[in-house]
C-alpha cells in the first residue's frame, strides 16, 4: 500500500514537468512553451513554443510581453551561405491549417533586459498578441541551460 502511495506521489511530482500547458485563442492553439535557465540577468533569455492554426484564415504573431523581461522581441535566426545572423522578425506567420514553431535555429522570442533570473523548474507567463486572434497568455517552463527541446510532450504525443 505504501508503495502505491509512493508511486502516486512520484507521478504527481513528475506530472507538471511532463505536460506543458496548452492554451487557445480563437482557432489558435499554443503549446510546448519553454525557456532556458539564465545566468544572472545580463544576457538575453529565450522563449520557444509551437502555434497551431486550425482555422481557415492565416494569422500572425505580432508581439510578446512578459513580466520576466522589459524588452522582449521576436527574432529569426537566418542562415545565409553558412553565416548565422539574427534579424528582428516583424511578425511570425501562422498559416491557416498549419503550424509554426519557435525553436532553436529559427524563430524565437528573445528576452532582452531580464527582470529576474530564470531558474530551472520555474515558470513565467508570456502574453502573445496575434493579428486576428487577439491575446493569449501561456506559462513558459524554464528548463536547463543546456536544454535543446521541450521536455514536455505536444498534445499529439
Amino acid at each position: 500500500m505504501k508503495r502505491i502511495f509512493t508511486t502516486l506521489a512520484l507521478i504527481a511530482a513528475a506530472g507538471p514537468a511532463l505536460a506543458c500547458e496548452t492554451v487557445t485563442t480563437g482557432p489558435l492553439e499554443v503549446s510546448r512553451a519553454w525557456s532556458r535557465a539564465s545566468i544572472g540577468t545580463a544576457r538575453p533569455g529565450v522563449v520557444y513554443l509551437t502555434i497551431r492554426n486550425s482555422g481557415t484564415a492565416d494569422d500572425a504573431l505580432m508581439s510578446i510581453t512578459t513580466p520576466a523581461a522589459d524588452m522582449p522581441m521576436l527574432h529569426q535566426t537566418v542562415m545565409t551561405d553558412g553565416i548565422a545572423s539574427m534579424p528582428h522578425a516583424m511578425e511570425v506567420p501562422v498559416p491557416a491549417g498549419g503550424q509554426v514553431a519557435l525553436e532553436p535555429g529559427g524563430y524565437h522570442a528573445m528576452l532582452m533586459d531580464l527582470t529576474q533570473v530564470l531558474e530551472e523548474g520555474e515558470t513565467f507567463p508570456v502574453t502573445l498578441t496575434f493579428s486576428d486572434a487577439g491575446e493569449v497568455t501561456i506559462p513558459v517552463t524554464v528548463q536547463n541551460i543546456g536544454a535543446s527541446e521541450p521536455t514536455c510532450t505536444s498534445p499529439d504525443e
Binding site: 545566468i39 544576457r43 553565416i83 539574427m86 524565437h108 528576452l111 535543446s148
Partner: protein, 197 residues
Amino acid sequence: MRLTTLQKFLWAAVAVALVAMGAAFLLVDRSPEPIAQAAFRPTFSLPDAGGRLRTPADFEGKHLLVFFGFTNCPDICPTTLAEVAQVMDDLGDQAGEVQPLFISIDPERDREMGLAEYTEAFHPSILGLAGDAAQTRAAADSFRIYYEREANLEALDGYAMSHSPGLYLISPEGDWLGQFTYGTPASEIVADLQARL
C-alpha cells in the same frame, strides 16, 4: 602490307596522341602539392578566462572541438554548446581525449559578462577563450571563418554579431579534420569522434 598515305598519317596521329597522353599523365602525376603544404592547420593564441595564453600546443594529444560564438547569443550559441555538452557526456571514458573550445568573437563584452561561468554552465570541460580584437581576428582568419559586428539599435549595447556557427574538429597533431555544420545531431558527432579515438 603497304600503307597508304592516309594510313601512315593516321598511325602518326596515334603515335603523337600516345606521347601526348604519356606526357600529360606524367605532368598530372607530379601535380599534387607536398603534404606539408596541403595540410590545413588552423591556429590561435588566445587567453582563457584566467588570463593564461592558450595555443594548440597546450592541447597536444587531444582532438579539439572548436566553436566560435558569443555569450550574449540567445539561440544558436546555447543550442550548440548544449550539443557539445551532450557529446562530452556521451563520450564517457573517452571524453578526456577531446577538448571543447569556445572562442569568443565578442571578447570584450564576454569577458565583462563572465566567460567561464557561461561555458561551465553548459559543461565543465568547455574552455572559453577571449582575446583582444587582433588575436580574435587572427584566430578566425586561421580557421577561415566569418564574423561581423553589426550595428543594431535594438540589440544590447547597440550591436549584434553574425557568424559561422559550425563546430570545427582539429586532430591531436593540429590538422583540420572537418566541420560539423549547425544542427548536426550530437549522436552523429559522437559516432564520428568514436571512430577516430
